[in-house]
């Protein structure tokens, strides 16, 4: 189990997407998100993109106003996770075209579908954009 959760949070600390790969109760999630976001958003651009928090290591990256935070365990390759975030953004961008925060909000379920293709059981299983997007495009067509 490498990846424990994927969060998208904007600069105001509002959650835009949350996916946990281990079950946490609503209260635990709320507390965790609050702490992590506070910690990461307070960091400057010069500081490194990895923050330790409790048992997690958070790898985060900012795109415009939106922060992508991925919680991993200790044995994960942080740089690779950083690029995984970028791959996710690229994939969204390919699907939505110039993806912005609003796209994610309007199509929350689609972003989740993409994540479902990319990460299973906390492992990165698919990095081929065509493969990631294929089911979503097929669903779009059929409905």
């Amino acid at each position: 189990m490498g990846i424990r959760f994927v969060l998208m949070v904007n600069k105001q600390g509002q959650t835009r997407l949350a996916q946990y790969y281990e079950y946490l109760t609503l209260e635990e999630r709320r507390a965790l998100e609050g702490e992590i976001v506070r910690k990461c958003l307070a960091r400057s651009d010069y500081q490194c993109s990895f923050v330790e928090h409790r048992k997690y290591k958070i790898v985060y990256r900012r795109y415009a106003s939106l922060f992508f935070l991925v919680g991993v365990d200790n044995e994960e390759n942080e740089l690779a996770i950083l690029e995984f975030i970028h791959l996710l953004v690229e994939t969204m961008d390919r699907h939505f075209g110039n993806v912005c925060e609003l796209d994610i909000m309007f199509h929350l379920e689609k972003v989740h579908f993409m994540l479902e293709e990319m990460v299973v059981n906390g492992c990165i299983v698919e990095t081929n954009k065509a493969n990631i997007l294929a089911p979503i495009q097929l669903m779009d067509k059929s409905s």
């Binding site: 390759n77 909000m105 479902e116 299983v125 990095t127 089911p135």
Partner: protein
């Protein structure tokens, strides 16, 4: 206009028909400006949903929307459990999109042991058998999230079938479903593990990549069973690295980097400590390290993984050399991310034993010194303290000049120092560095490292991490301390600043060290050490708010050695001790230590035949404690009082000077200092005092009776008091009555006479020496403290002492009585009530633990009372044995239920060919990727593709350290608002975007934390640059120079979104900023 808007909205949202209501909800959430506002919106939404969602007539499309709104409710931190059942229902739907949305919602809402899961398992089973592979995939997704140990059998056969499905997407997910089962319950799929090997050779690279996840787990659980796969992994990795996979798996020109990383992780496990397996890997590792592009993040990610692998497998000098080179590059990088990875990687190389390092002429040694220098600089130790460091610095400079431009020596130091200090202090980096430092600490550098660690420890406020650092400091100091003096000073610092966070054992160790000294026979040095400890403590006492543990150490040391060197007078030290007891008057432990210390001081005075003059404040402290509610404190106070009244010789033998580690064997098992633990050692202490008190009394007043008491004492704690043997012998020779076992002790009833008459009740509880005629329920020893307290108030000192002692006797007497078989039944009841199956009764548990814990000193002093206790002990022993007998049975049962770890049958490696670049048409369609290279080159001189394009807002406005939540709160106040990147109204908006844009174009010097992002730009480069402008084209004509061909598309899209009613001039312009802009 209104019509146009509606039209636009429909266009924008396509045929999915999201309702205006949904759009409004998203819009209001997006524009919410505080957590409170967001909460209000969500609460309103919950009310709406509760009303609507139960409506039976809701069309399915509408229901899907409701489900997504429920997702929002939960995501934003509110309970949406009222709608779970509808999500479950939606999984039953035939329409794929609805079904998948239903599954998604269920996986997000429910844990795998939720009651509703049972309603879904059936649907999953059906869907796994569907003809539509997308339905099967949706179901497999749900399997990976919702199936728990109990429900695995329900879907397992179907999932196994799907491993051979014709669609690779299905095979991939089936592999992951099996992986999940393995994680949840390894035994459930233990017979299916060969499937993972098969899928490693799947024709589809995606399936192959997925199979690496379970294989990684399998290999880390049992590497030996998978050694045969080493060659296959190496071959696959080689092919991957040689671009043999379809181009679609490339990421930033790197061939399938995520697969490479996973493979390297597996190889690291397989090659660990295995020379032969490692031998296969050297070539491919060398190739990858050589080929990897160290200019990109992803290239560095693979490089880092290579280093980890090199450090883990059987060492190869060439590889280690190149690994060290890469690490040096990382460390010297401007990017903190790379520095972080470099420090981590260095830590891994250091783990290799020095022996191997030498043998392979490692560059690691150089690295070590480099890092030492870096640390010196990092902590602004610009001035080298010793020659050794000077050499390291020089080497470091040589090293850097070899790889980098030549730096003059003086400048070089400055350069490095600047590098670490001029930037923001980066906590993540510091922690990582300390982690590394910890690994490379030696006795030669321990002082510097621990010093820095302590400074850092003082500076942080996170208790969790502070504890961690403190324990590391202690560990290093204990292990490498160059001198005891340094050790004590270091420990003082740790205690002073994190005393409440460190383990109490550390304090005991410190006290023991001070007491034992160097362990050599160097008394002068020892006493010097103690004097310096005393002096430092006297200095520290003045500090306010010291942690309790530290105060205990201080009190103990002052008591033991405060007057030892004659520098400080007894009254000075005792005054200090009183100050401590007063200043921390609500800390009983500290007070207990203080009063014991006082006692020692006075004892030493008495023993030295000096006049003890008790300071008034000490007197009042003693009096206060005599009436304390804590029996422990009270006891100590009485002991003190009793002791002062004794003669010099007696005192000398009770409280020998500097003997904390020597005389009392039983005490030494308790941490070396008999009174360093106020609770456990109180009894030992007491016995010594009582003995002394009685000795006096023996010769004077109550000769015979007390002799019995004394003898009894010796028996009571026989295992403890081997040192009493002589005395007992003496007493016997002098005509004292010999010990009478409890059961024969009827005649000693006259003991009662010597107690004051009006204590009838306490007599019953406290002093009962005559055996009971008929076994009755034992008097609860619990009650004795009460009687003790009441009698102690009135009886004269010696008597109080002896009566206190009898408390022990009586409780022990009870023990022996409890030994009779008749009582056993009754005690069984007690046992049940207390829930301690091992012990039959509290008394027996006491005796039991006594006999076991005292074994070392047991020896020849085994006396009758022990045998009296014996039967009881045996009882409890038997019951324990019973338990022991049950355990293996249970274990067997458990093993048969869960543990049957049938080893995966070995399978000779099959053809491990990975399809060479599939000339599939599918990849051809991805032409979009191709132009990238050109685009990248073209734009390489343009501002770095700015992931942070909104960052300038932060730079110019809110400092990053502002708490985002406070910001949110502050948003209610318009004046703060405008300062924090929230533009109200379109007028302010346009210039803002302009500013943004110009800033991003002119930000060539703006350093991005992740270097090498230039290449990130891949497919979107062409239109990326337009992004910042596109939102506002209609209002603010901007320079078009870098607009790409896709500008029109984005403009169209933007127009549509805006018509929808959400537009950039509304309250949150950020919603529109292109993420990849």
């Amino acid at each position: 206009m209104e019509q146009l808007k509606t039209l636009g909205r429909e266009l924008a949202m396509g045929s999915h028909g999201q309702s205006k209501e949904f759009l409004d909800l998203i819009k209001s959430i997006g524009e919410a400006r505080s957590k409170a506002e967001e909460d209000r919106i969500v609460l309103r939404e919950i009310e709406t949903l509760k009303r609507r969602i139960n409506d039976a007539d809701t069309p399915k499309r509408k229901m899907k929307e409701y489900i997504i709104r429920l997702l929002y409710v939960e995501m934003l931190g509110h309970d949406a459990s009222f709608g779970y059942i509808h999500a479950v229902k939606m999984t039953h739907d035939d329409a794929l999109l609805l079904k998948r949305t239903g599954y998604l919602a269920v996986t997000l809402f429910l844990s795998d042991d939720h009651d509703l899961i049972i309603l879904i398992v059936n649907t999953i089973q059906k869907d796994l058998a569907s003809d539509n592979y997308l339905v099967v995939c949706a179901a497999l997704n749900a399997v990976c999230r919702l199936i728990n140990e109990e429900t695995i059998p329900a879907v397992l056969p179907r999932v196994v079938d799907l491993l051979n499905h014709s669609k690779d997407a299905v095979r991939k997910k089936a592999v992951m479903a099996l992986h999940r089962f393995y994680q949840k319950s390894p035994s459930s799929v233990s017979h299916l593990l060969t499937n993972f090997r098969k899928r490693l050779c799947d024709n589809d690279p995606g399936v192959m990549g997925a199979s690496l996840c379970p294989l990684f787990n399998l290999v880390s659980d049992d590497a030996n069973s998978y050694k045969d796969l080493v060659v296959s992994f190496v071959n696959i990795l080689k092919q991957v690295a040689e671009h043999r996979l379809p181009k679609t798996y490339d990421y930033h020109q790197m061939p399938a980097p995520f697969i490479q990383v996973k493979m390297l992780k597996i190889l690291a496990l397989l090659g660990s400590g295995d020379k032969q397996a490692s031998g296969h890997m050297y070539t491919v590792l060398g190739d990858i390290i050589r080929k990897s592009d160290s200019m990109t993040n992803i290239g560095n990610a693979v490089l880092y993984e290579c280093i980890c692998c090199v450090a883990s497998i059987y060492p190869n000098s060439n590889l280690l050399d190149s690994a060290a080179d890469v690490i040096a590059k990382f460390l010297k990088s401007d990017s903190h991310n790379l520095k972080y990875m470099g420090i981590d990687a260095l830590g891994r190389l250091i783990k290799l034993s020095p022996h191997i390092a030498e043998q392979h002429q490692l560059a690691v040694i150089d690295c070590l010194e480099i890092i030492q220098c870096l640390l010196y600089f990092m902590f602004s130790y610009a001035i080298c303290k010793s020659n050794q460091m000077m050499i390291s610095v020089t080497e470091f400079l040589l090293f850097s000049s070899g790889l980098d431009k030549k730096l003059p020596e003086a400048d070089g130091g400055g350069w490095a120092a600047k590098d670490w200090n001029s930037r923001d202090p980066d906590d993540s980096l510091k922690r990582k560095t300390f982690e590394l430092l910890y690994k490379m600490t030696k006795s030669s550098n321990v002082e510097v490292i621990v010093d820095r660690m302590i400074d850092y420890m003082i500076s942080i406020s996170d208790d969790h991490y502070k504890t961690y650092i403190a324990s590391r400091c202690v560990e290093l100091a204990e292990q490498f301390a160059p001198s005891n003096h340094w050790f004590i000073q270091t420990m003082n610092k740790v205690f002073e600043h994190a005393g409440d966070l460190v383990n109490i054992k550390v304090a005991h160790n410190l006290m023991r060290l001070i007491a034992e000294g160097f362990g050599e026979d160097d008394d002068a040095a020892d006493s010097q050490l103690r004097s310096s400890a005393v002096e430092s403590y006297l200095r520290i006492i003045g500090e306010p708010k010291l942690p309790s543990v530290f105060l205990q150490v201080i009190c103990w040391v002052l008591g033991e050695y405060g007057t030892a060197d004659g520098k400080y007078s007894a009254s000075y030290i005792s005054g200090k001790l009183c100050d401590i007891a007063e200043a921390y008057s609500n800390d009983e432990d500290v007070k207990a230590y203080a009063i014991s210390a006082l006692m020692k001081i006075y004892a030493f005075e008495v023993a030295a035949k000096r006049n003890v003059d008790i300071l008034p404040e000490c007197q009042s402290l003693i009096e206060e404690l005599l009436a304390s509610h804590s029996t422990d404190l009270q006891q100590r106070a009485y002991e003190l009082q009793a002791l002062i009244g004794l003669g010099a010789q007696a005192v000398e033998s009770i409280m020998p000077r500097d003997a904390s580690c020597e005389d009392i064997e039983s005490a030494s098992s308790n941490g070396g200092c008999y009174d360093n633990d106020s609770d456990k050692d109180g009894d030992t202490n007491l016995v010594v005092i009582v003995l002394a008190a009685t000795m006096e009394v023996v010769s004077k007043v109550l000769a015979t009776m007390v002799k019995v008491v004394v003898v009894t004492i010796a028996i009571v704690v026989d295992k403890n008091l081997s040192f009493l043997n002589d005395y007992v012998q003496q007493s016997l020779e002098r005509g004292a009555q010999s010990y009478i076992p409890e059961d024969e002790r009827i005649g000693t009833g006259n003991m009662n006479n010597f107690r004051s008459h009006d204590h009838n009740e306490s007599l019953q509880h406290g002093l009962r020496f005559e055996a009971y005629e008929v076994p009755k329920a034992p008097v609860q020893p619990k009650a004795t403290p009460v009687s003790f307290a009441s009698s102690a108030d009135t009886v004269p000192v010696p008597e109080a002492l002896s009566s206190r002692e009898t408390r022990h006797i009586s409780s022990l007497g009870l023990t022996s009585e409890a030994g009779s078989s008749e009582l056993k039944l009754r005690l069984d009841g007690v046992q049940k009530k207390w829930g301690r199956p091992t012990y039959s009764s509290p008394t027996s548990s006491a005796s039991d633990s006594y006999s076991t814990s005292q074994k070392p000193t047991n020896g020849a002093t085994q006396v009758d009372s022990a045998t009296a206790v014996n039967s009881k002990v045996r009882d409890s022993y038997d019951s324990r044995k019973m338990q022991v007998e049950i355990n293996p049975e249970k274990q067997k049962l458990a093993a048969s239920l869960f543990g049957a770890s049938t080893k995966p049958e070995k399978r000779s490696s099959t053809s491990h060919k990975v399809p060479k670049s599939n000339a599939d048409g599918s990849q051809g369609s991805k032409a979009a990727v191709v132009p990238n290279e050109l685009a990248v080159e073209k734009t390489i001189h343009q501002p770095p593709p700015d992931l942070l394009d909104m960052g300038e807002l932060a730079v110019t406005t809110a400092p990053p350290s502002v708490d985002p939540f406070q910001q949110l709160e502050g948003l209610l106040d318009p004046s703060i608002n405008s300062g924090i990147a929230h533009n109200v109204g379109g007028t302010t908006n346009a210039p803002d975007i302009m500013g943004l844009y110009s800033e991003s174009t002119g930000s060539g010097g703006y350093s991005i934390p992740v270097s090498g992002d230039n290449v990130n730009f891949l497919s979107e480069l062409s239109n990326a640059a337009v992004k910042a402008t596109s939102g506002e084209t209609t209002m603010t004509p901007l320079p078009q120079s870098i607009k790409g061909p896709n500008a029109k598309d984005s403009l169209d899209k933007d127009a549509l979104v805006r018509q929808m009613g959400v537009n950039p001039s509304s309250q949150n312009p950020n919603l529109f900023s292109d993420l990849l802009g």
